[in-house]
Amino acid sequence: MENTRDKLTLGGHEFTSRFILGSGKYNLDLIRAAVQYAQAQIITLAVRRANTAGAENILDYIPPGITLLPNTSGARKAEEAVRIAHLARALGCGDFIKIEVVHDSKYLLPDNYETVKATEILAREGFVVLPYMYPDLNVARDLVNAGAAAVMPLGAPIGSNKGLCTRDFIKILVDEIDLPIIVDAGIGRPSQACEAMELGAAAVMANTAIATAGDIPAMAGAFKNAIEAGRAAYRAGLGRVVEQGAAASSPLTGFLND
């Protein structure tokens, strides 16, 4: 009952699914599995990949009713991200844009400074801007002020499947930022997705973890269940962790009742 009202809102658009398929590993089976078994309603799409004339155009494989989230991968500077966003619009990908500005070919870590600049420009142009960023509270605040629709901190380096390496910093963003916090990159297992949701993340983006699984549809389903469980736990309010062994209820202040 509650769940029907628990919606993810991004730039005025509402979604019931909190799983977003990332674009790291391109695979048509993966898209089908994400929609059918993980019930994804948002699918990320690298513009540089969609920018193709041939038979393998990924745009042709996106099922109807799915919101496309084109990303600016390949951009090294804010201006390049802006140009790719314009290209996405021209290709008919809609107004959502995930900003990725990466100036490092080895780790693919986002450049926060250029990301803020690109967010400012594209939000002003009417895009629904979802910036991928390294979890830094000051930068997250700048992104809010720049007009972002959500903030997308990385859990671990892209494709690493290492999970929530930045857990404590993501928690700070969840606590301090009013926009949805979507954990992007590094989520390698359903349990890690569940943990992100328990922390209060509004959604989780994953790709490699499912793309490289032995059974893609089964793993897609596992992610769906994990994300729902984590969300339900967050909404229910996690209980306190009882310390080992019995404890007197008020060992320090009990004397007040003596």
């Binding site: 990949r49 390949g74 790719i84 070919s105 494709g159 690493s160 793309a211």
Partner: protein
């Protein structure tokens, strides 16, 4: 080719010619050469290789171990780890491209090369109208990435001509790469403006003495100018640069080590640069059947390719058309990420009704069409990808 031609007024191989740009403050070459000279592959043991395999990220020392003879008995394990890294970074994507040779005039005298200026082959430079026809023929096959090649004659294939070819290529293809003679930063910037974004330069061999013995005349004889081409290309605005030694010209382990270190040092200096390796070894050439690959058999070649992958897991690796189809099929399943298809290395060889204008540089071993290569990729559970790039 009968014997060597006498070369008068020989160029000093370590000295820049007057019009060659010098990157005064760059220490890349000195560092590559000193590390290569210090590399003694005979002192590595199996346990060094095993340690290298167990690392999450690998150092130059690990790379050195992986290229050593001690790694040879562990090739299966090395290939398994290389495959893991490839899939982690590239998923199941395999990128396709084709080379387009637009000219084969060459002013150099490289004694192992079929394009060399003393080799009597048919020379040609395609007109722009002919280039357009070639490109149309290639584009019809579905390819979206093209690699433009010339012989090394700045006079016969000047940057303006190459620039016009790049501009035309942008009409037919998404990705335009260059494999032409080394240039100054300004030329690279010009060609980047014309639509090229990737530059590959084969150093052939990183051993300066061997290099001087093999490259007897022409601008190519200047070793440091060639070695610093990638750095100038990056400074000229190119997104990515490719590296290669022609394995078999010198000591292939040292050459492969230097190639990897060269890429490693440049990536540290220019972290935004995309890195790629090509892995050619000597193949028979026109009019000279006596040159054979020295000691680089397929097992050694695979060891080198896997060592590149494990050292720089994010780098693209192109597998040469000089290799047979069976080898190429397996290598894309392990470490290579890019493969050429529908290759014709003759000048003007892509059009069915037009006679070839000029001869080829070497012989290819994999003549498969784009469709056949795509099919082979799919049969391995991999995905052929025509484009993953946008020019910005």
């Amino acid at each position: 080719m009968e014997g060597l031609h006498e070369v008068k007024n020989s160029i000093d191989p370590m000295k820049y010619l007057a019009d060659m740009e010098v990157l005064e403050e760059s220490t890349i070459m000195d560092e590559v050469l000193s590390r290569m000279q210090a590399y003694d592959y005979s002192h590595y043991r199996a346990q060094d290789v095993q340690r290298a395999l167990q690392q999450d990220s690998r150092t130059p020392e690990d790379f050195a171990a992986l290229l050593s003879p001690a790694a040879a008995p562990l090739l299966e394990e090395i290939a398994r780890r290389a495959r893991e890294e490839t899939r982690r970074y590239f998923g199941n994507s395999v990128y396709l491209f084709t080379p387009l040779y637009v000219a084969n005039y060459c002013e150099n005298y490289c004694i192992y090369c079929g394009f060399n200026r003393y080799n009597s082959i048919r020379r040609a430079r395609l007109t722009l109208a002919e280039v357009a026809k070639e490109m149309q023929a290639i584009a019809r096959s579905g390819l979206e990435e093209i690699l433009i090649l010339t012989g090394e004659s700045r006079k016969m294939s000047d940057p303006v001509y190459i620039g016009e070819v790049c501009k035309m290529a942008r009409n037919y293809f998404k990705t335009v790469g260059l494999e032409v003679y080394p240039m100054n930063t300004g030329d690279y910037a010009y060609l980047h403006g014309c639509g090229a974004d990737f530059v590959t330069v084969f150093q052939e061999t990183y051993d300066p003495d061997r290099y001087a013995a093999l490259h007897l005349a022409g601008r190519k004889r200047v070793f440091p100018y060639r070695l610093n081409a990638q750095e100038r290309a990056i400074r000229g605005g190119m997104r990515g640069v490719g590296f290669a030694a022609l394995l078999g010209l010198g000591d292939f382990r040292k050459d492969a080590f230097a190639t990897g270190i060269h890429a490693y040092l440049l990536q540290r200096k220019y972290p935004q640069a995309e890195i790629a390796f090509s892995c050619p070894r000597l193949r028979p050439i026109i009019n000279n059947d006596s040159i054979k690959p020295k000691d680089v058999h397929e097992a050694q070649l695979l060891q080198v390719i896997c060592a590149y992958r494990l050292f720089m897991p994010f780098a693209g690796i192109t597998i040469s058309t000089r290799e047979r189809s069976g080898f190429r099929n397996h290598v894309i399943g392990i470490a290579a990420t890019k493969i050429s298809a529908g290759v014709s290395i003759d000048i003007g060889g892509h059009q069915e009704k037009v006679a070839e204008k000029g001869d080829a540089q070497f012989e290819i071993a994999d003549p498969r069409s784009v469709q056949e290569v795509c099919q082979a990729i799919k049969e391995q559970g991999l995905q052929p990808v025509m484009n993953d790039y946008v020019f910005v």
